[in-house]
């Protein structure tokens, strides 16, 4: 069972604005690549360049499945790269791994 609060942002700029206010209670960032205004890769770079945010694990959740993009994201500090489509079970498993937790119980 996965428990937590979800904060949503509809694009990269909104995500960074939200983090400015909420970063102290954020345990994990799920980041899409293809977003309006500021794409996920640019957001990832800015997160990792800011010492307030850089320790928050980032998991890319995206349709961008080309190998070079996966490599780029990992090189820039993403801890996981989940390509859509995926099952809910896969998503939860990766979230738990990204949070440094092992297995999970799915109800």
């Amino acid at each position: 069972m996965l428990d937590g609060e979800l904060l949503e942002a509809s694009d990269g700029i909104e995500a960074l604005d939200l983090l400015e206010e909420e970063y102290k209670r954020v345990d994990l960032i799920l980041l899409d690549w293809n977003m309006p205004r500021l794409d996920g890769m640019e957001v990832l770079k800015r997160l990792k360049a800011d010492r307030r945010f850089r320790s928050i694990p980032v998991m890319m959740v995206t349709t961008e499945s080309e190998r070079e993009n996966i490599v780029r994201a990992i090189q820039h500090g993403a801890v996981h790269y989940l390509v859509k489509p995926f099952t809910i079970e896969e998503l939860i498993k990766r979230i738990m791994e990204s949070l440094g937790k092992g297995g999970y119980e799915h109800d």
Partner: protein
């Protein structure tokens, strides 16, 4: 680009949608070619997800379905009951389906002359609307069926 190329590319998209719906929603779909490109009017509310693909030659893709079908698909994908889904969830969900399909096909076409970049998907909806475009565009479409559900995919190079 030839008619054969666009048919193959349309098959890539529909195969991608088949995988998405199977993986995320547990639906098995079958698909058949269709002749009519311009979307027909319907008395039932329709949601159409769309994306422009930027390549050597730009294209536009769309995925349209009745609102009730969208509610069923998105409900299975998210695990949220259809009646609890807001209208915005349906529009977002159909746009996301287009996004996932396009991302999959982008990777498949990455080393071909038909490589493209994704743009932001968007949705439009309503009743009795028709999408009409110039004649003689290179275009094709597919009807997809899963039980009682009908989904139409279209692609046109513009």
């Amino acid at each position: 680009m030839t008619d054969m190329d666009i048919e193959k590319i349309a098959d890539y998209f529909t195969e991608s949608l088949r995988q998405v719906l199977s993986t995320m929603a547990g639906f098995e779909i079958s698909y058949i070619a269709c002749d009519e490109f311009n979307s027909s009017c319907s008395d039932n509310p329709i949601i159409m997800g769309t994306m422009v693909l930027h390549g050597k030659k730009d294209a536009i893709i769309s995925l349209s379905m009745e609102k009730d079908t969208a509610a069923m698909v998105i409900a299975y994908m998210t695990g949220i009951l259809p009646q609890e889904l807001k209208e915005q969830d349906l529009f977002d969900g159909v746009a996301e389906l287009v996004n996932i399909m396009a991302g999959e096909v982008k990777a498949r076409l990455s080393n071909t002359p038909y490589h493209f970049l994704l743009t932001s998907p968007f949705s439009i909806g309503g009743t009795n609307f028709r999408m009409v475009q110039k004649k003689n565009l290179l275009e094709t479409c597919r009807h997809l069926k899963a039980g009682e559900m009908d989904i139409t995919f279209r692609i046109a190079y513009i």
